[in-house]
């Protein structure tokens, strides 16, 4: 098995695990963390392909993903704090207002 194929498979697996986490966890912060897992999986695939093809653009892209991730975490945490202040709990079901 080629190492690159393995790494691409690993990236896919990590992505699925992250997505699964968002579906099954009830704590808001853990959901944010699963989001981070997904981002990491994407970076992994970028780096794998960059390494495979000896192409710099993959690594450059991963740099920009890190920039985006930091930005996102700053805003996300601000919003999480506000949400918790408004609703009083980290549980996702508390934030559900529709009755459907």
């Amino acid at each position: 098995m080629d190492r690159y194929v393995l790494l691409v498979g690993l990236s896919g697996l990590l992505f699925s695990v992250g997505l699964l986490g968002i579906v099954i966890r009830r704590n808001l912060l853990v959901v944010m963390m699963c989001l981070e897992i997904m981002l990491n999986a994407v970076v992994l695939s970028f780096v794998t392909f960059a390494s495979q093809n000896q192409n710099v653009s993959g690594a450059a892209m991963s740099f920009f993903i890190y920039v985006a991730a930091s930005c996102e975490i700053a805003l996300a945490m601000a919003i999480v704090v506000l949400l918790v202040k408004r609703r009083g709990s980290l549980d996702l079901s508390v934030h559900q207002v529709l009755k459907g």
Binding site: D2, Y4, V5, I24, M32, L90
Partner: protein
């Protein structure tokens, strides 16, 4: 040799990811996440992408995860999500995940394999990487700083609104 290392760190990464899902307290989940990230950094290093490995540890673990740990510490309330960590969609979610993984596995298995070549750290060394990066992606770099500025402003505005609303 490299394959063994990569395989070892990959297994650890998967383990850490599963731990993130399974652990009850968010603090422990965040530690598992840190573990995942460090394992991934190791993988990058094995591949010869030293720049990316360093970025991973510095930016992701050093900034992002620290911020997340701060927030967890700030909002650590023992509410209902501690007793029941999993939502109602546990089973359907697992089924979907299994399907998804199986599909990805089939797709990946159909990828072509290239001949393994020796790891050449040259291209992804700091020296060469910076030169190439700044030559080709300088404009994107500047745009990224603008993005960061906007992000800071947004976060500050959101909190300011909240404070105005309260008081």
């Amino acid at each position: 040799m490299i394959e063994i290392l990569i395989g070892f760190f990959g297994v650890l990464a998967v383990l850490c990811a599963v731990l993130v899902l399974v652990l009850r307290q968010p603090m422990r989940s965040s530690l598992a996440l840190v573990g995942l990230m460090i394992n991934l950094a190791a993988i990058y290093a094995c591949l010869g992408a030293h720049v990316v490995a360093v970025f991973q540890v510095l930016i992701y673990v050093g900034a992002v995860m620290v911020f997340m740990v701060y927030t967890i510490m700030l909002l650590d309330e023992r509410d209902k999500s501690y007793q029941q960590p999993f939502s109602k969609l546990l089973i359907p979610g697992l089924v979907a995940a299994a399907l998804c993984t199986a599909a990805l596995g089939c797709l990946v298995a159909g990828m072509e394999t290239t001949t393994a070549r020796a790891i050449d750290a040259g291209l992804f060394g700091f020296n060469r990487f910076s030169k190439v990066f700044m030559q080709n992606y300088w404009f994107h770099f500047e745009l990224a700083t603008v993005l960061l500025l906007v992000g800071i402003l947004a976060a500050w505005t959101a909190l300011k609104e909240a404070r105005d609303e309260q008081g």
